[in-house]
Each structure stands twice: as C-alpha cells, then as structure tokens.
C-alpha cells in the first residue's frame, strides 16, 4: 500500500447531453432532449439496468433546461430520507426529473404524493421525467392510478452500452482527466472486471486517486495491485 495520501483533486462527472454516448439509445436521448427543451413535449419514462445511463440523461436534461432559463429539480429518490416531503416540496418546477422511482414502491404516502405531483404538474403545464429499473407495472407500486399515469408516459428501455462502447467512454473520461488507459490495460480490465459503466467510472475515480498518490502511470501491474488491495480482484 502507498502510504502517501493524495489531495482530493476531483473532477465532477460531467453528465451532459454532449457527453452521453447514445449507441442504441438514440431514440431515448432524442425524446429526453425534446422534453428538456420544448414545452409540451411528451413526458418520458426511462427504464433499464444500472449503468444504462438513466441518471446521466436526467441530470443532462435538468442542466440543458436550466441553461435556457427553465426552473428545474432533480430528485434522486433512493437517497432521500423523507421521500413524501421531498416529493411534495418540488411542485411548481417547469421540469422535474425523478430518479430511482422504484424506491417509493410500497411506500403508501410517497406514492400518493407522487400521484398528486403528477396531476398538479399536468395542470400547471410542467414536465416530468422518470427513471427506474423496470416498467411501471413491474415496479411493485401499490397505487393502481399511479401505475396507469406512469404508463401513459412515453417509455424507453435503455440498453447498457456494449464492451466496445464502454471502452470508448472510459477512454474519453480518462483522457479528460489527463490520464491514459491504453488498450492493454483496457483488455485486462474488461477480461477480469465485468461491471456496468457506472461502476467502471467509479473505478476510474479511484484509480485516478491511486495513481496520483503513487505518482505512477496506470499500467496492468498497477491496476492488478490496486484491485487486489481493494479486495475486488476477480479470479
């Protein structure tokens, strides 16, 4: 282990439309862009597995809408403590992005709050954008009316990027930080560390810090040592 601790020189992950690698998800990207920028565009419901770009699209939509002067709110439901209060508190925005919708499944009060928010936003001419890991009928929501409301949104199934595309994203993100991930390193990584893009980008964050502490390039031996220490090396 390197005893020297590095400074926390961080690069906020830039979740913007122009950094979204659409691949097979081009239709979803177009619909979310329309929702962010054009009043009256159909509401969008995104579903897909972890690492398929749900959060990225939601944050990008908020950023783009905010840039043209619309009032926006992003609500990561899974990480909020008092979800009913949070949902009631966001009414009145022009674009509302609700992430991790599955988190409120079975929470009666939160489901009712969201149902009210839906109706109120519809009445006020605002826009809602949802993301979850499954379609509305499979989320385990207790309130049938909420299920049908959500079902009325335009739905898109986000598909994770394939290996080649994830490699590209990882390379681009690394280059933006000024570090290089060459093909040997990527081959090694993808052969042993099969993870979704979110986890790979988290790994990149940690590798960046570790290489800063060690003042070394990211090579296969460095990566191997890092993963072994992190206890995450896969056999």
């Amino acid at each position: 282990m390197i005893p020297q601790l590095p400074l926390a020189l961080r690069w906020p992950r830039r979740q913007r439309f122009e950094h979204f690698h659409a691949g097979v998800n081009a239709d979803a990207l177009a619909a979310v862009q329309a929702l962010a920028l054009e009043p009256g565009a159909p509401w969008v419901y995104l579903h897909g597995p972890a690492g398929s770009g749900r959060t990225h699209l939601l944050i990008a939509a908020c950023q783009a809408a905010s840039a043209i002067g619309r009032r926006v709110q992003y609500l990561p439901l899974a990480s909020l403590a008092d979800r009913p209060a949070a949902i009631r508190g966001v009414a009145g925005s022009e674009l509302l992005a609700l992430d991790d919708l599955g988190a409120i499944a079975g929470e009666r009060e939160a489901e009712h709050a969201l149902f009210d928010l839906y109706n109120q936003t519809r009445a006020e001419g605002g826009a809602l954008l949802f993301a979850a890991d499954a379609i509305p009928t499979q989320l385990g929501l207790g309130l049938p009316d909420l299920r049908s409301r959500l079902g009325a949104c335009t739905q898109f199934a986000l598909k994770p990027l394939d290996d080649a595309e994830r490699r590209d994203v990882l390379k681009t993100q690394a280059a933006a930080r000024g570090i290089e991930l060459d093909d040997t390193v990527l081959d090694w990584l993808f052969a042993r560390y099969a993870r979704d893009l979110g986890a790979l980008l988290d790994l990149l964050d940690k590798l960046d810090q570790a290489s800063l502490a060690a003042q070394r390039r990211i090579t296969v031996p460095f990566l191997r040592g890092f993963l072994r220490e992190a206890g995450q090396a896969e056999s």
Partner: protein
C-alpha cells in the same frame, strides 16, 4: 548586419536568451539565436517553440539586418573573451565574423526567415505588478509543480487572475502551494492559465529583485511578460487545472502556532533518520508542545521537541518531511500556523498572521 559592443553588455542579454535553447533540437535553426539589428538597437531571440525569450540592448556602429547564429557557441565565445573586450560582429554572406582584439571567429549562420517567432498572442487581459512580487509569487510555489506526471496540466503553474488578485498555484497531487497578491487594477473576467514547467523555470530565472514593474499579458494561447529590456513568451498548457480551492481545508479546526525557524531546524534534523523512500516523520501534538519523530528500517530513531502555542492534544499525524520543509522555506513570517483535523486529512500551513501564502499537505499513513 553589423554591430559593435562591449563584452559585458552583450553577455547579459545572451545569458537571458541562451537558457531557452535546448541542447537537442527538432529543427537545426532552433540551436541558433536570431540576431537582429534594427531601430537603433541589437535584439537577440532564443526559442524552443514553447518558450521564447527576446532581449535587446543598445550597441554601436549599427548596420540593420538579421541572421541566426549558433547560440551555445556564440555564448561560450563571448563568455571566454577577456573582461572589457570590444566585440565586432558582421555578417559576410552566409558567415558571421566575430572579432575581438586579436581573436577572430567565423560562425556558420542560417537564414533568419527559417527562425520561428511568436508575434501576435491575441491579448485578452493585461496586468502590471512589481517584478519582485511576481518573482516571490512564482518562487514560493514553483517547487510544488509535478514533474512528468501523466496529467500534463499538473506539470506547470496555474496563474489565476480574478478581480483585484493574482494567484500562483502549483500541485503534484500530494501537496499544493498557493500564493496571492493584490493588484492595483481590477480585471472584469476571471482568467486561469497554466504555464508549462520550463516556462516557469525560465521566468523565475529571469525575474530579479528590485522595484521595477513587469507587464503580464494573458493571450488566448500564450503568456507574455514584458520588462524593459526583455520579452518572455510561453505557450500555455491546454487543459483545465483541478478545482484547487476545493482542497484547501476549511474544517481544519486544530491549530498550532510554531516558530518557523525552530520547526525547520527540528524537521531537518529528524529528516536524517527518516525512511529514504517516503521520508515519513510523525508529528505528535499535545498542549504547548509538538513532538517530531522519525525512524528508518535500521531502527535508528530521532525525537525532537518544539514549543507550540496549541490547545490540541492526542493528535498524531505523519507527513513526508520534504513537503513540510518546502512549505516552511516558502513562508517568510517568524511564526507559522499548522491547521489540522485528523490523521487522514490535509494540513494547511501558513504564516500565523496572514493567508497570502498557503500550503496544503496530505498526510502519510504511518
């Protein structure tokens, strides 16, 4: 082209520009200096395509013209001539003839049209400050620049210009050095530029103590520094410097004030017995006292105690002693203040009565 000049009058501008010329070049003409006589003066230019230095001086018996002459050879000849020698240099066709007393040299030249110079820098902002201040700002931070880090933007120094202040910032990822000064003028838009390591070193070498002013010109891709006789221009590193303000600790509420020289001496002695690779020393704080300990793989041990104005107790943090010594050398005051939180968080070192110069150092796990 022709001029006549006293040896010493030529030696100074030669010294200023010759440092820029690399020992190995990609283009033959980069081994040469551009030598130009025009507007009643002699001008010398050296470049490596990244950093350009232009120095001018009055001379006599001038005949306008320009050529390029091997930099190192010209410098070595002028330096080796006796004090007070008068040097006459004249371009004869493709050769330059240098005569001084009973010495005669004929040097090869390359046409000046092949010599790359940086003319326009697309000026976006301009500030003026005392030369001595700029020198102090850069000297107090340059040591913290990274050297050959893959993150190219760390191999340089950030100049951060905003409102009434100019800050120099450098970091290698383990520690960060910052020094700021107030400007007489105000800038409307914040400007952040990164000067490459070589440019920083050349500029520090050029700047002198004295109360003259220098002009800093921020260009779209260049920084230009003008001082009466010399114009320095450096390309910038095209990249974004990390958000350095985010690593300056705010929650470091445990403070200790220590005599700077006493602490420096104690650290220098303890360093002798620290591990050669990581140079770790342990700082143990207890009320009114700071204990410094070091040991190495041979089980040799050093213990130093210094007085400290501090209420902190039961705090023990490891550091690379080199980073602490660099910071203490860059500070000027009699007393320094160490601001800490715990053994995993960064330490802020500054003078105890002002924060113009700040040093953030990350601990070592001990």
């Amino acid at each position: 082209m022709q001029f006549s000049i006293q040896r010493e009058a030529l030696l100074k501008p030669l010294q200023q520009v010759v440092g820029v010329v690399e020992r190995r070049q990609t283009l033959p003409v980069l081994a040469n200096l551009l030598v130009k006589v025009a507007d009643g003066k002699l001008t010398l230019t050296g470049t490596d395509l990244e950093v350009e230095m232009v120095a001018s001086t009055p001379a006599e018996q001038l005949a306008d013209g320009e050529t390029t002459i091997p930099a190192r050879k010209l410098f070595d000849i002028v330096r080796a001539l006796p004090d007070g020698a008068r040097i006459d240099l004249k371009l004869n066709g493709e050769r330059a003839a240098l005569n001084a007393g009973r010495s005669r040299f004929t040097l090869a030249t390359l046409p000046s049209s092949e010599f790359p110079t940086i003319e326009e820098i697309e000026l976006v902002e301009k500030v003026s400050l005392p030369e001595e201040v700029l020198r102090d700002l850069m000297e107090s931070t340059a040591f913290a620049m990274a050297n050959q880090d893959v993150r190219y933007y760390l191999n340089g120094m950030l100049l951060d210009l905003q409102e009434h202040s100019l800050r120099c910032v450098a970091t290698d990822g383990h520690r960060l050095a910052l020094k700021e000064t107030q400007l007489d003028s105000q800038v409307s838009t914040r400007r952040q530029i990164i000067i490459p390591r070589k440019g920083v070193n050349e500029l520090v070498g050029l700047l002198e103590t004295g109360d003259g002013q220098v002009e800093l010109e921020f260009g779209r891709n260049h920084l230009r520094v003008r001082r009466g006789d010399v114009v320095f221009t450096s390309k910038l590193i095209d990249g974004r410097f990390p958000d350095y303000e985010a690593v300056i600790p705010l929650g470091a509420d445990k403070q200790a004030n220590v005599d700077r020289e006493v602490l420096r001496g104690a650290l220098q002695r303890a360093a002798i017995l620290s591990n050669e690779k990581y140079r770790g020393v342990k700082l143990e704080f207890s009320p009114s006292r700071l204990r410094i300990m070091a040991h190495n793989p041979e089980q040799e041990e050093a213990v130093e105690e210094v007085e400290a104005e501090t209420p902190v107790s039961d705090l023990s943090v490891g550091f690379n002693v080199g980073y602490l010594l660099d910071a203490l050398a860059a500070l000027h005051g009699e007393k320094v203040r160490l601001n800490l939180r715990d053994a995993q968080s960064s330490c802020l070192v500054q003078e105890n009565d002002n924060d113009q110069s700040r040093h953030v150092i990350m601990p070592l796990r001990l």
